[in-house]
Amino acid sequence: MSINIIMEGARSEGRQVLTEDESKQILALAGIPSTPCRVVESPGEAARAAGEMGFPVALKVRSTIITHKSDVGGVYLNLDCPEQVSRAFNDMREKVRGLDPGAGATVQPMAPPGVEVIIGMTTDSHFGPVMAFGLGGAAVEVLGDLSFRMAPITTADALEMIHSIKGIALLKGYRGRPGADLTGLADMLAKVSQLVTSYPGIREIDLNPVIAHPGGSLAADARIVISEYRSQTLR
């Protein structure tokens, strides 16, 4: 499977918003770490997948119609046993029946706890591809604590970007909490930048949240939006 094949597959179905599993396949091909993501179609299959992965797991709706999973209540976190997983699957099906009766799910291991950050890329009408970095949760939603750079960026740019948010103190560790691996985080930003530079058909990337640990970082969720047509080159 190549990045172009994944994008062409979505285009052939008339989709620009890739599913989480498609997005994470692209990340894997670009060397960007994320939580593994298994597509399941039934409660039993979900429970089996969870057992194989090891608990706790997350279950998320997988649909080509529903692109904002948490808006429809389609995200279940910290499921501890096979029964919880199959119940979550049925509950999810019930909730989204009206939107997408054929919706499946993905099962993925819960990322170990850490600081939640956002790594994003968007195509701006003035600047072209732009990278964004910020703390997740309220820091970005309420305070807008984000920093931006024009892609492509170097690892040095990425480090500067990380250090320019107000919440940098949280990432460096506080009150005895260990800090995040900032070099690894910068490397991840630089890889996202490389990915969008190599594949101009990618219009947006939203890794939210990325869980930053002392030993590395990984994307717990991913959303990639591609252009309608294959050839879209940089201005």
Partner: protein
């Protein structure tokens, strides 16, 4: 930058023969004011007023049409309405005029009909490979050759700061503030709608221009921002670029993918990205002029370690606050400096010997102030000195002493007098002629220091 655009812009900034199309004898009209501005500005080339019905304007013979003007015209300044401008550009193209400057508004800023008219204007200019400045432009000034082609007639001292402005009103604001500050201007360009020549072109042109040592930019917004950022990186490696961006309220969200609502406005993108490429982002017109004045007078600082000498604590505290926010360090004085200070003001002075150094009453005397400035400049841990002094009815300002200290140690010095300009205009000229920018508020002095440190740090840095 394309060789051709550069060559064309040269003929616009340095024309030898200029036609003013639509010159009139009524001071109410743009056509009169542009012609008067060029004529009385001391333009070293030839200027030809063009009007079908006038015989003479301001004592100069008028040509009935552009075709009657003798010899090749480098630049036609078109002072007609938006419709007649398109016709005039066509005539200029046929006659081989190299460039046109279009003052008229009424184009893309006026909706679909205006946009269509602007497309015709662009197509006409392109058909004849003419450079088109504007439309919707205040005009341009080149102080090398005294070429003042704006419809607000001006006289500005010549300096090495050049200004690119998207707005005529902000351009004038910055120019008048520069006059107050005693900052000379080299070139001014009102870019207007940037129909065929964009911000990046002007920036690259001024980057190569030998008369320009600092480039100031006022920008509302440009679809060409990516190209501008890339051009700025190359230019800022050679000379400082200081930019004021308007439009800070987050009207549009560029980062919608995370459902973050108004988390990210376009101003943040411009600020972060232009800084990424070495541009110094000013907070206000005031800040922009203060920064440009400092950058045009001061040699680069070795690093970001700032000494502050004062005889009153307040301004130094305000400065310490602002400078630390902008990445400067106020280092402690070294032992040798403290010994030197004691030699000057006594073994056990009633002041605290630290940086900022507040000499209080001991610093009132000009000689003492100058010696203290020298002692601080001698400190190997200090890269730049800010000297603060308050205007007094009976005590003279220590300008000559500050200049002497600066000359002795060679490090950059910024002077800050608590004064109004009338109280220190002569001192301003003396200091600034000696390469020491003078400010009348601690905030302005900090703008200069922060911009200098930014440029000294970022200058020459080109990413792989």
């Amino acid at each position: 930058m394309q060789e051709k655009v550069f060559e064309h812009l040269s003929s616009v900034f340095y024309p030898e023969r200029v036609a003013v199309i639509g010159a009139t004898d009524s001071p109410d009209r743009v056509g009169f004011n542009v012609f008067q501005s060029i004529l009385e500005g001391g333009f070293t080339g030839r200027v030809y007023p063009v009007h079908p019905r006038h015989e003479s304007i301001l004592g100069q013979p008028v040509y009935k049409s552009i075709g009657e003007v003798p010899g090749p015209v480098d630049l036609a300044v078109i002072c007609l309405n938006q419709h007649a401008t398109v016709q005039a550009v066509e005539s200029c193209g046929r006659l081989g005029v190299k460039g046109v400057l279009c003052h008229a508004g009424g184009y893309r800023e006026m909706g679909d009909e205006g946009r269509e008219l602007e497309m015709r204007l662009i197509a006409t200019a392109q058909k004849y490979a003419m450079v088109l400045v504007g439309p919707n432009s205040l005009g341009l000034i080149n102080n090398e050759g005294n070429f003042y082609s704006t419809f607000y007639p001006l006289q500005i001292p010549k300096g090495s700061v050049s200004l690119i402005s998207q707005s005529g009103g902000m351009g004038l604001t910055i120019i008048h503030k520069a006059l107050d500050e005693g900052m000379g201007i080299n070139k001014f360009i009102g870019v207007g709608n940037c129909s065929t020549v964009g911000f990046a072109d002007y920036l690259e042109y001024l980057g190569e221009d030998s008369g320009t040592s600092v480039i100031a930019v006022f920008m509302e917004g440009t679809a060409d921002a990516r190209r501008f950022a890339l051009a700025a990186e190359k230019v800022a490696a050679k000379k400082p670029v200081v930019l004021l961006k308007a439009g800070r309220s987050p009207v549009s969200d560029y980062f919608t993918v995370t459902h973050t609502g108004s988390a990210a406005g376009s101003y943040r993108l411009y600020r972060d990205i232009f800084s990424q490429f070495g541009v110094y982002m000013a907070d206000s017109a005031h800040d922009l002029v203060a920064a440009c004045k400092g950058l045009s007078l001061l040699a680069p600082a070795r690093s970001n370690r700032i000494g502050i000498l004062t005889h009153t604590a307040g301004p130094s505290i305000v400065m310490a606050d602002q400078l630390s926010e902008k990445g400067c360090v106020i280092p402690p004085l070294q032992e040798s400096t403290i010994s030197r200070v004691k030699e000057i003001i006594g073994e056990d002075p009633p002041v605290v010997l630290k940086n900022p150094l507040d000499a209080a009453g001991l610093g009132f005397a000009r000689e003492t102030f100058g010696w203290l400035a020298g002692a601080m400049l001698e400190d190997p841990g200090i890269d730049l000195l800010v000297a603060v002094y308050c205007l007094h009815k009976n005590w003279g300002l220590p300008s000559r002493e500050i200049i002497e200290a600066q000359r002795q140690y060679g490090k950059p010095v910024v002077a800050c007098y608590a004064s109004h300009w009338e109280g220190c205009r002569d001192d301003r000229n003396i200091l600034q002629n000696a390469g020491i920018p003078l400010y009348t508020t601690p905030e302005d002095a900090c703008a200069a220091v922060a911009a200098l440190v930014h440029h000294s740090k970022r200058g020459g840095r080109i990413r792989p």
